[in-house]
Symmetry: C2
Subunit: 342 residues, 2 copies
């Protein structure tokens, strides 16, 4: 097991890598703990959860809605959870988002930790304290930024991760490489999913590298007034089409990155060669690079993106591989890009 | 107009006393503002709100529920509210609680201010950043602690406050006197509601004195790990019976204070004379001092109070008039007090 911490606004979050349930820090007493997980994970890991109070929610992005929060709150009341209760979110990004949000609002906030079980949650969703739910088709429209006490990484839980979820997770890994880490980009070019699936040591190193990329960015800008915005690369268009067409998150982000890279070519001098490398890398990791969608509908959803500020949108572009930048683009220009160029 | 500030965990909240809509600080531009108010207030003050984007919610504690939050979020989406939007909660305690909560979760938090319109909201609910909603009969079970940018006091709005709401508000004024301010207790003994209703200057001074009592306590213990607990005097039993019998908040708190004072007599040496003074003062301000309720039901709700920690409850008692203390009472003892003594 490996341990380190990051400091966020007055709060230290501890990371336990290559750990397991048995490595829970002593602060956790099983009696006061409530594990939130989903039906998929419970099916595989019910024996592991024996003796823990558990709330099992239905699996899938379509349940990342208020009705699931209502159900969890009702269960917490039944369990007589109090201010000393400790919530553990064990699952992929939907579970970690929901568990963090419930922990933030129940009794005006109880302590919590996350145990990410997918590549996507391990390198992205569980890190940085953003949580929340979708409102209909609008992604993460309601939520909080609130850091967990710790994040515990048990790589053995990846053994049951479905193939398509490996693909999803690599969309965020490639995103990190694009905005911050050209060396990681090159490493990814020389490998593929099968390699990381079978080479545990390389996988552990990859996850750790991504943890550090995201945690460093967030620690420097927790409330997203500057650099944290870079992490939204591919997510503006991605979020606009994700729930509209019920796409897997990684697929939506992959398509969003291709669009953002194309716009970068026009606006920042991002080279055609780099653009081609990105498209190839996404394909190498089995991610989609094109998708036809209803442009008017997508733009109307995009307008509600949290990154909009009045009549402009903070959009993430690439200057080069490994160097993302934030550019404010007027909504009118955004609309003409969507309607004419795509 | 009078201005001052209190500092809460890294956040300064500005207070504008004896002010009006026209005194809104320049940070507020009408275009980016959304006023949340209720049907009662809108009926009286629609002309004042002309030109402001407004969300009007149904009036009453029974609407302090998730369904109202769902409606407000839907309206905010329709209005295309973004991260630069600024929410103003104009109303009594229900409106200020709801507006603060919505501002805390919409797009993971937008800025907000409060404009309390009842005595209760002016001296209590609008101060200290606690917000939230009830879950069925459980009071404030879900919410946040998050401070507003400013609180604006327009005393002229009290002109339309119904008589029973004046009574409600004085329950919290008397509470402040009991736990912190014996001189205020004596002042209250020498006056009555009719006096404060007709003497604007005395009313302004009374409200200001209560603002300082509450703000000072909260500034010293925002997360309620110590002294802030004192503000819950009368609220443990109060909350247990409030929604169960649909009592006005002030009535429930008044009955709760009488019960807590009786328990104080047994446990802290709070004198019979002081106890009698409190009961008399509550009656002088038209508040109820006894109420027969289903003890078993009340205890089962009381168990879910946010002040419970595992098998004990942090209960607020009086040592003397003007001096509250926190005492941890085991649930079993609490139950026998409820079942045998009351």
């Amino acid at each position: 097991m490996k341990e380190f911490s990051y400091h966020f606004s007055g709060k230290e979050t501890r990371y336990y890598l290559d750990a397991g349930f048995a490595d829970m820090p002593p602060v956790i007493n099983r009696k006061g703990c409530i594990v939130i997980t989903d039906t998929n994970l419970y099916q595989h890991y019910a024996p592991l959860l024996e003796g823990w109070q558990t709330i099992v929610i239905p699996a899938g992005e379509q349940y990342k809605q208020q009705s699931t929060i209502d159900d969890i709150i009702r269960r917490l009341i039944e369990m007589e959870a109090d201010r000393t209760s400790f919530i553990i979110g064990m699952g992929g990004g939907v579970v970690t988002d929901i568990a963090g949000y419930v922990a933030g609002i129940y009794l005006r906030g109880v302590r919590f930790a996350l145990m990410p079980t997918s590549i996507l949650a391990m390198v992205d969703a569980a890190i940085g304290g953003k949580n929340g739910i979708d409102i209909g088709i609008y992604k993460n429209l309601v939520g909080l930024i609130r850091q967990p006490d710790f994040i515990l990484y048990d790589y053995s839980l990846l053994d049951t991760l479905p193939a398509e979820e490996w693909v999803n997770g690599f969309a965020e890994v490639i995103k990190h490489a694009c905005i911050k880490d050209a060396t990681l980009f090159e490493l990814l070019q020389s490998k593929d999913i099968a390699y990381f699936k079978t080479n545990k040591e390389a996988l552990g190193a990859l996850i750790e590298r991504n943890i550090h990329i995201k945690s460093t960015v967030v620690a420097g800008d927790e409330r997203e007034s500057g650099e944290r915005r870079l992490l939204n690369f591919g997510h503006t268009f991605g979020h606009a089409i994700e729930n509209l067409y019920q796409l897997p998150h990684g697929h939506a982000v992959s398509i969003g990155m291709v669009i953002a890279a194309a716009i970068s070519q026009e606006m920042t001098g991002f080279s055609a060669v780099s653009n081609e490398s990105l498209v190839q890398l996404l394909q190498q990791y089995q991610l989609p690079v094109q998708f036809s969608f209803d442009k008017a509908k997508a733009f109307s959803i995009l307008k509600m993106d949290k990154k909009r500020e009045k009549e402009a949108m903070n959009f993430i572009l690439l200057q080069s591989i490994g160097e993302g930048i934030v550019q404010s683009i007027p909504l009118t220009q955004m609309e003409s890009i969507v309607m004419q160029r795509l």
